[in-house]
Symmetry: C2
Subunit: 237 residues, 2 copies
């Protein structure tokens, strides 16, 4: 047991935030179990990014769970609804956008909980962010706290009092610029990640969706060049 | 709006409990949206039962979400582990059995939450039972209450204060015998349902797994004949 490292399940989308979280969990000494989802997302190219990031950081295992969120429709990320482009911070801060996938983080965390239980892990990491968060309800600290409480009542380990499950959200209070600064410090190669909600057929980011705009702003504020080749829009204006 | 019925998402496994819940929700006047899962269960025959039950009760829609819980392993219901047979009530009451699927109800309820959000529904029905429950942690009232609380923080409707989501558990305090009595009263045709964890290739129940044993006991206590043809074991001793 002396040399056994604690296991963590890390939700890994292939985007900038989750790549940073993976590096943070590694930095804290966890053995990493990365979990991605094939959920009918239009930006399925992010799964290639997830594989690249998992390999680069070095994980004990990486699984991709197939779930079909399209069965319910309801979001621009899974259904045939246009992804909004070119919105400013003001527009992003109002209401919940059409790219919101109903109950997505609840579903993702539930799967992470299942795997954590099988692995005997009590630590789940997720890259939610309550600042530059595009207004998603399931990215808020009060949601995470409620999920954690529920999770500890849902499992064998919780019932038997063996493990107290914790949902780690190391990015929750950081700006995008702070996240990028932290990742650079930890050696994250952001060139491997994919953030765009609506990438072109060869994977190039659109440069104009909320996710691209937040990413570009974050790099700009760090005075760092983002190595991704955007399809459109000024990269550093 | 005057004639618009309230919508309910009802988790429907095709077993005795969820068929009863569907009839209860219908009795309460809800428009029914039945949700089943193809999750790699070895008793996949229950999905045929779910289709029969949904058609017989009359639902507005029935969806089967494909999710692969086998990706994590860990249960006799999804992995290649033998289903225990012939256990008495004493044995069933100790510990959590190998047929427990990690975080299954958390995952199922999360999907129900997603669909409820898309439908504008604030009512989810689930046939969990805290008495004859085989010792599953995610069947207990405190788990359901915690899920409900989390769910109201997870969604657009919750955040905007438009809907207070409720998870209905009409069977939670009933014995199997009481559930069957209620179903008979509501006209449920239990001959359409499937309860066995380990059915034969033509669908006949084994008669000896925990689920079969609980079902047979419930019928026996009502002095009613179960119309299913069991493979083995005394049907009414």
């Amino acid at each position: 047991m002396a040399n056994e490292r604690k296991r963590a399940v890390v939700l890994l989308s292939g985007g900038l935030d989750s790549a940073t979280v993976l590096a943070i969990a590694r930095g804290e000494g966890y053995e990493l179990y990365a979990l991605s989802f094939s959920y009918g997302q239009r930006h399925v190219i992010e799964l290639d990014a997830a594989r690249r990031v998992a390999a680069a950081v070095g994980v004990a295992d990486h699984r991709i769970a197939k779930i079909d969120l399209r069965v319910f429709g309801g979001s621009a990320l899974t259904a045939e609804i246009d992804v909004p482009k070119g919105r400013d911070a003001e527009a992003m801060s109002h209401g919940i956008p059409i790219t919101y996938v109903p109950a997505r983080n609840t579903i993702f965390l539930s799967f992470a909980l299942a795997w954590a239980e099988v692995l005997g892990s009590s630590d789940i990491f997720i890259g939610v962010n309550a600042l530059d968060y595009s207004g998603y309800p399931d990215c808020r600290p009060e949601f995470i706290a409620a999920f954690e409480k529920m999770a500890n009542l849902a499992t064998k380990a919780g019932v038997e009092g063996r493990l107290a499950l914790r949902v780690h959200t190391p990015l929750i209070a950081l700006t995008k610029a702070e996240i990028i600064a932290k990742g650079i410090e930890l050696g994250v190669d952001y060139g491997l990640t994919s953030s765009c909600y609506d990438p072109g057929s060869t994977g190039e980011p659109c440069g104009e969706c909320d996710s691209c705009l937040l990413r570009r702003k974050g790099f700009r504020e760090n005075g760092i060049e983002d190595s991704l080749a955007y399809k459109r829009g000024p990269a550093s204006s």
